[in-house]
Symmetry: C2
Subunit: 178 residues, 2 copies
DNA sequence: CAAAGCATGTAAATAGTTACATGATTTA
DNA sequence: TAAATCATGTAACTATTTACATGCTTTG
């Protein structure tokens, strides 16, 4: 039973209290978005597949006319998640960073334009940092108080990484500025 | 003329001295791989497309029976690269990090298994750091001496980021270890 | 002469996004 | 009553990888 990564993301989010596809998407946006994302077009078909595989159970929740389907992990789903977490398969890290790529090629433009790229990279990390501080940190703290401590720990990595980028940009800007 | 990101990667690598598809792949592996990658199956068809678009010129280089096609940027290709570098479109950053994702869900396993995940994340960054120091740094220094300074600058970002991850892992391990 | 490295390409599959499409409920 | 939020889904497209397929040249 080899599942795509997105399936483990779904399983994990259900384990953290998400109940619907919509919930999963919302939680991803405030918590894992900076290192792992998923789109609606992946979530809904995957939830159906996971239900067929009996890793989750789904029930239509009738609230007036609004349709919402709530899901929960089965014992097997929980075991599958744990098995994946414990497996020592390679922890692939893929980064697609247009900022770094432009900076890498910045010798092809004049120094003023290169400086603009660095500033844009710094601004981007500052924006991400403020997102991490604003919707992400309170969400992680809420989970922390509910006994789930690792979301807050991973948040710390994101903050540290963007701070490192910002420091590096400032140093480079100082070195290259006219 | 809106090109896929991979096309700019090719254009940029030709600007840095790569001559063939094979060269491009090799250079990517030692330099941008940590923030931007490309596969052979993308390179060869894209080179043909770029030639049709007159952004590069290609010539078969006859060396005995081995076939090699050497490419060079046209003036238009160089201008296209510069235009992209100067454009202020969003500098998207996409990360898919299985290590962080597992860590995020680590409340679902026991503390010993969670610790294993942190150690694996640290080991991975150490491995990447040593790759950055081993084939990447000498390659970046060679470019630096040839007047291309930005590859060495971007290398610094990669090193700083992985060092930040390693420090963070050590701190977390100390906090959680029995 | 075997292994490593040089060199190019395609087909099929998988992964992932964007746009399309709809409609209910709550809040300002 | 309009806007925001809740809620689910599919079709088409784009991007990317993996596996297949081949053959020359240099070095040990």
């Amino acid at each position: 039973m080899d599942l795509p990564v997105a399936a483990y993301l779904i399983l994990g989010m259900l384990g953290l209290g998400a109940q619907s596809g919509y919930d999963i998407k919302r939680l991803v946006e405030v918590s894992t978005r900076h290192f792992s994302t998923i789109s609606r077009a992946q979530i809904y078909p995957l939830l159906k597949q996971l239900e067929r595989d009996r890793l989750v159970t789904g029930h239509a929740e009738a609230q007036g006319n609004r349709h919402r389907r709530v899901y929960a992990l089965t014992a097997e789903g929980h075991a599958t998640l744990q098995h994946w977490l414990r497996a020592d398969d390679p922890l692939t890290l893929e980064i697609r960073d247009l900022g770094m790529l432009k900076l890498f090629f910045a010798d092809a433009v004049n120094p003023a334009d290169a400086l603009q790229i660095i500033r844009a990279v710094r601004a981007r990390s500052q924006r991400m940092l403020s997102e991490l501080r604003q919707p992400s940190e309170p969400a992680a703290r809420a989970l922390d108080e509910a006994g789930r401590h690792f979301p807050l720990h991973t948040l710390g990595f994101g903050i540290a990484m963007h701070e490192a980028v910002i420091d590096h940009c400032s140093a480079l800007e100082a070195k290259l500025a006219p």
